[in-house]
Amino acid sequence: MLVLVCSAHVDLHGREHDAVVDLLSKNISISGGKLIEKNLIEITINNRRGETHTWFYINYSKKEKIKNINAWIECPNGQVVRKLSAKEITTSSAVSDFSLYEDDFIKYFTLRHNTYPYKIHFEYTRETSDFIHIADWTPIYNIKIPTQQAELTVDLPEDFEVQIFEQFVEKPAATNTSERVMYSWNSGYKSLIEYELYAPHLSTLIPKVTIVPKNFRYGIPGSFESWQTFGEWQTKLLSGLHDLPPHEKMQINAILKNTSSQTETVELIYKYLQKNTRYINVSIGIGGLKPYPASYVSQNKYGDCKALTNYMVALLAYAGIKGYYTIVQADDEIEPLIRDFPSMQANHVICFIPLENDTLWLECTKKSVPANYLGTFTQGRYAFVVDGAGSKFVQTPALTEPEVRNISVYTYHLSTLSACTVEIQKCLRGSGYELFLELSKEFNKQKQEEYIRENISSADFELLSWEIGQSNTRLPEINLNIDMKISGVLQKFNSEYIVKPLPLPLPKFETLAKRKLDLVFNYPVSMADTLRYISSNNLSFSIVPGPVSIETKYGSYKTIVTETGNLLEISRSLVIHAGHYPVEEYKAFYAFIQDIRDAENKNVIVLK
């Protein structure tokens, strides 16, 4: 379909990759409680564009030692052009943008040559004695370039028990000697995976091997034998962290003086937490898994998700309510939990409270959401409730269609003389609510206005006034009201005028030919718009669009058109149901989207 005719310099058709990983090798051995991981990458750079792949990074934590960094450039004939020298390596702290401090570091360097192709050989060794992961391996070095060959070997003492998870790889070759067991996996990454809208999580699409020790010591001894043993270990790690100081208890007593129900108690304590604490991540040592105690949050009034959740659980315990420290893999996109592989598979902690008549979930790092609102970050997935031997999986509530419905009303005052005045009223839920809540709480007025100006309309317009507000902060919805003037809404052609209604903001779904992956909607998509046109200057509606109704397995689209005097109203709604649709159904799904686009393209209003 795509043909590129180019200058004589290069033939783009069927072109080679900019860079190719020839070999990606990881060699892990454990002896005497020490884990030694030897890494080797051989990558061929085929052209100047491939130079984006000549930067190399080693991320490591304070508990790990990086040794034997060697790298060099080889010509195709095998001749070594040059070697990396130690002073070319930069070391710096690696603190993620959501953290105040983490004791993680990064080493990086680049190696380049000026005749293509050339090969870079890069090796280093990582050593550590504190580990709960042995390998987290995939043949993919970079999702944009192929890996010809990838290998993983793991060499263990015979009595060192491990648990292995494998996906899309051949069974390993295993060799036993008298004292050692050695596994080896081989794989590659040849057909590249490309980003697609609403695709399944990448982790479910790629070959991978994860290995954890059956028994480990991380702070304290623990075991991944079962989720129960893991839960028991995490419970022990959490014990003794409910050390609330007396003045904090007095505060809670004061707040709860007149409470009548458990739900009310939880809501009041949650409000107290939200009002007084803030999210700040400081991660040191095993702090990645063990929270700071309640006394730390009580003193500093800040903490990360673990510390804040532990603190919340401590406050609840003091009020006689059992809340649970619950770990979860958080993100808008859901990385499915591997339930038959007990291991640490989470990046976030929330609070779970099963009450007699009600179950509540609390996100302890957000200062402005109502109690029991988890949002797109953790909705609709398995979470692991830490409770000693009773630790278990519980599903977080999934966002429903009404909970994500975005309602908009646009009122156009059509004028033949000047730009049209337009009033926009939006009620946003789901991700729109989260976005505008953050915008209104975390950014100043200038930034808010800038965001609205940049995103509200693609036309020449003048923003007259705007307001973000909540009529009820206990509801997860937010209102956005905008008054603006837009030019070019009404276009004149001789004696008549036309108006082209604004189309729905549909995502840009890949065309049929391009779609390779299943479709996954983790929660529904729902929009309900009303376009109201008020005519003046003795204009009357001469031709108006007709109603449309499309109903499919994937969702529905409906418009209703009503005309009363000088008011024309087009109400339309779009719903896409949550679900996992195999790629074989993409044709039908795409037809649904295309039908909506066609219907909207046909919409033209004529006035005389």
């Binding site: 795509l2 590129l4 710096s92 105040l100 401090y101 000026n114 700040i280 500093n300 007025k445 020449d460």
Partner: protein, 654 residues
């Protein structure tokens, strides 16, 4: 109406402010400060600096020299949750073998009113401070103040000790939140002389200068008094970034210090601040500049000889030399006016910063027998050059200047996608300094010729007249070509994406021309379908379809800073619409002609038997417009958008 209201409000509030009791003594926080609900004069402020006081002193150290001791204390009022981020503090300091700075005596306290009555103070526990390594030279000391919420007042102080007298700590009076009171005090000693540069304001609100008569200090045999300078600004508004500016650093109110000379105990002066000609002389002797050029010289005689035989003209040779550097050495993304690697290392690593690459090019061009000089400049994001201050550190880039008869060529070899004699857009920032021995010569960096962007569109309708088949050819020159080449990067996926973003369906025959022929226009062409607006017998067609701008890039009502488009632009659209059989043209948009010093727009339609041709052309003639021209510019954009999105109407005849 609104502006009058807010004006009176401001006046009322400032009156109120005067009655407020803001203490400038460390450790003294009043209930009024904690009760304050909004910043007077800026009710949208998330936080405000109530005071920011710094002092630099010169203290004797054990090396029989001085350390510069910088003490700073700051009080900040947090108004909203969004302001909590101002309670996370990062203090940058330098630590390597040459300059080893330390941060000590850190104190920080948060003040709150409990139950609206009782004032509480929560102190920072020093074990909650952390050192973050930025690179091999710089660190941050980071900490978050405890117990901060909307309403809190925070106060912190620290001492930074530096052995380096070269860069006395600068002082920013303005921030992205308002500042009530800002004072920087420097206790000068007679051994170091500095010049300072105040930016963003005409003068200080208060400036005091006096001798510290009280304390006699000794240095060797010398007895001396400190000379105190106090620079004070009050009620500094929050800085607002407006887009289309060169660099925030160019506009923020701040004070920079430069060491200009130092004296030994016998009064012998060593000059640091020089003149532009002296500065040129000095850097030509510099290891990382002049000597680098020399060490590069004479290394490529064989290549020069070879390229000479392949070139018919001098210009062609210069182009080939530039291309040689581009093809064999890649830019590491760093801007610099001096080399960090030796020429030998650069040759080994095949990669270099902008100075290593362009100084190499300079030596090649000189070796080939041309008269060429380095030109020092400051890139757009690095801020403007201050012509009254001959300091080399204002610069961060060099390009090559070649005299070719009457013509002047400017060369750069960091961007393979640019023609050899066009410097990258980031370099277009006022003037550059031509580095010649004992001379001061400035050269304009702007490229006056507008960069052109032409779109040719051919529109036919399908048989059922409900869809358009469009053939589009986009031809770009100059910086427009560079930007498009860079965006598409000869990558078919990016090209597809670029076309898909314009909402075409059934795209075919995607072609690009001259991606590598950088002296020629870069051309992209393709065919694609678009839906058509049809009502009964009428078809409404926008002749420039989705190739036009629809969005006014100037979205603010007003503007304080100049609008900098980097280079002048010339856009041309031409569209031919085939009128299908059985249809006639019912409506054509009116012709337009605007032409003045700032802007021009022409719009013409012509109708033949079975086709209509529409041509629109507009030009923003200047690269930089003043802030008071903003409304005019915004209006031109509005007119443009309307005109370029106008439609023709075809009707069925029967």
């Amino acid at each position: 109406m609104r502006s009058i209201l807010s004006f009176t409000l401001t006046l009322l509030c400032s009156g109120y402010l005067f009655s407020q009791n803001f203490s400038k003594d460390y450790g003294k926080v009043t209930k009024d400060e904690i009760r304050l609900a909004q910043y007077p004069g800026d009710n949208s402020a998330q936080a405000a600096v109530l005071y920011d006081i710094g002092r630099s002193r010169f203290m004797h150290n054990e090396n029989n020299s001085f350390d510069v001791v910088f003490e700073r204390s700051t009080k900040i009022k947090i108004f909203t949750d969004a302001g909590l981020k101002y309670a996370e503090i990062k203090i940058p300091y330098h630590q390597d073998n040459d300059i080893y700075e330390t941060v000590t005596k850190i104190e920080a306290t948060t003040y709150n009113l409990e139950n609206g009555e009782m004032m509480t103070a929560t102190k920072l526990d020093v074990k909650n401070t952390f050192t973050q390594k930025i690179n091999d030279r710089w660190n941050y000391l980071v900490f978050a103040l405890p117990n901060v919420k909307a309403g809190s007042v925070i106060e912190y102080k620290y001492t930074l000790t530096s052995p380096s007298k070269f860069y006395l700590r600068d002082w920013e009076f303005q921030r992205e939140i308002p500042v009530k009171y800002s004072m920087y005090r420097v206790d000068m000693v007679p051994f170091y002389q500095y010049t300072y540069l105040l930016q963003g304001a005409g003068k200080f609100d208060i400036y005091n200068n006096y001798e510290n008569r009280g304390l006699v200090r000794y240095y060797g045999p010398l007895e001396y008094h400190e000379n105190i300078h106090e620079y004070i600004m009050t009620d500094v508004p929050a800085f607002v970034d407006e887009g289309f500016i060169t660099s925030q650093d160019d506009y923020i109110i701040k004070l920079d210090f430069q060491l200009s000379a130092y004296y030994d105990v016998y009064g012998v002066e060593t000059k640091v601040l020089s003149t532009w000609p002296q500065l040129c002389n000095d850097i030509l002797k510099d290891d990382d500049f002049g000597r680098y050029i020399k060490s590069a010289s004479g290394k490529h005689n064989d290549i020069i000889a070879k390229l000479k035989t392949e070139s018919a003209t001098d210009k062609e040779l210069i182009e080939k030399l530039t291309d040689y550097v581009k093809a064999n050495y890649s830019w590491n993304g760093r801007n610099s006016w001096f080399a960090l690697q030796s020429f030998k290392e650069y040759q080994k690593t095949k990669t270099g910063n902008s100075a290593e690459i362009n100084l190499h090019l300079l030596s090649l061009v000189q070796d080939a027998g041309f008269t060429a000089y380095p030109v020092l400049l400051s890139t757009r994001d690095n801020g403007k050059i201050k012509f009254d201050f001959p300091f080399v550190h204002f610069f961060n880039y060099i390009v090559v200047f070649v005299e070719q008869g009457d013509e002047i060529l400017m060369l750069d070899a960091t961007e393979p996608l640019l023609p050899y004699s066009i410097i990258p857009p980031k370099c277009i920032n006022d003037k550059g300094l031509v580095v010649k021995k004992k001379a001061q010569e400035w050269i304009e960096l702007a490229n006056k010729a507008p960069s052109a962007n032409n779109r040719n569109i051919f529109i036919g309708l399908n048989n059922t007249a409900d869809s358009i088949r469009a053939i589009v050819t986009i031809t770009t020159d100059g910086f427009e070509a560079f930007n498009l080449r860079k965006q598409l990067n000869n990558d078919e996926k990016k090209l597809e994406q670029y076309i898909e973003n314009k909402h075409y369906s059934d795209v075919s025959e995607i072609k690009t021309f001259n991606f590598f022929e950088r002296n020629s226009s870069f051309i992209v062409s393709y065919k694609g379908n678009l839906p058509v607006d049809r009502v009964n017998d009428k078809i409404y067609i926008r002749p420039f379809i989705n190739e036009t701008i629809k969005d006014n890039p100037l979205k603010q009502q007003d503007r304080q800073y100049p609008i900098d488009f980097t280079y002048p632009q010339m856009h041309r659209y031409s569209s031919m619409v085939l009128v299908p059989e059985g249809y006639t043209v019912e409506y054509l948009p009116a012709d337009v002609k605007i032409d003045n010093n700032n802007f021009s727009l022409t719009y013409n339609t012509t109708s033949q038997n079975n086709s209509v041709t529409i041509i629109a052309q507009y030009c923003f003639k200047k690269a930089v417009y003043e802030a008071d021209e903003y409304k005019m510019l915004k209006y031109y954009f509005a007119e443009l958008i309307l005109k370029l999105n106008d439609r023709i109407v075809l009707t069925k005849v029967e």
